[in-house]
């Protein structure tokens, strides 16, 4: 069964890893609905 298709996705991105919007684009391409996207910053 698909992990993401049809699911509500919460994104915790990282400024120095993969930022939120980039993950959101991937998640949407897998049929998930992004309900929250944030990017954390350690610096």
């Amino acid at each position: 069964m698909a992990i993401l298709d049809g699911k509500k996705v919460i994104i915790i991105g990282d400024r120095d890893g993969i930022p939120g919007p980039a993950i959101a684009a991937c998640a949407e391409s897998a049929g998930a609905e992004v309900i929250f996207s944030s990017t954390e910053c350690f610096v």
Binding site: K7, K8, I10, I23, C26, G31, A32, F36, S38, T39
Partner: protein
């Protein structure tokens, strides 16, 4: 994990039901990914935020893990994350994430 983000995770899992919510992470290191994954499954290990002592048990993956990667459109993934695969320690991230999932 940032306190505001913890609050949002808690609210959304209550609103939509834990089984309907998936958390995707983009942390730069395995350790940070593990900490975030632990926070949304077993609870905030730093006992600082709203998820302290709250075991949501949400499905959680790092965006570079093969299980979710295969569900993404390959072109989109390559454009958004392809380069970072060369930068991040993907093996370390995957093993840290698996270690957390094994505790569930």
């Amino acid at each position: 994990m940032d306190l505001e983000n913890q609050k949002r995770v808690l609210e959304f899992s209550e609103q939509y039901g834990q089984e309907n919510v998936v958390v995707l992470l983009g942390a730069a290191e395995g350790e940070a990914a593990s900490l975030a994954a632990e926070t949304v499954t077993l609870g905030d290990p730093t006992f600082a935020g709203p998820l302290a002592g709250v075991s949501l048990g949400l499905t959680v993956y790092h965006v570079v893990e093969p299980e979710v990667k295969e569900e993404f459109n390959a072109d989109v993934y390559d454009e958004q994350c392809g380069m970072m695969e060369m930068v991040l320690d993907v093996d370390d991230i995957c093993s840290e994430m698996n270690a957390i999932r094994e505790q569930l």
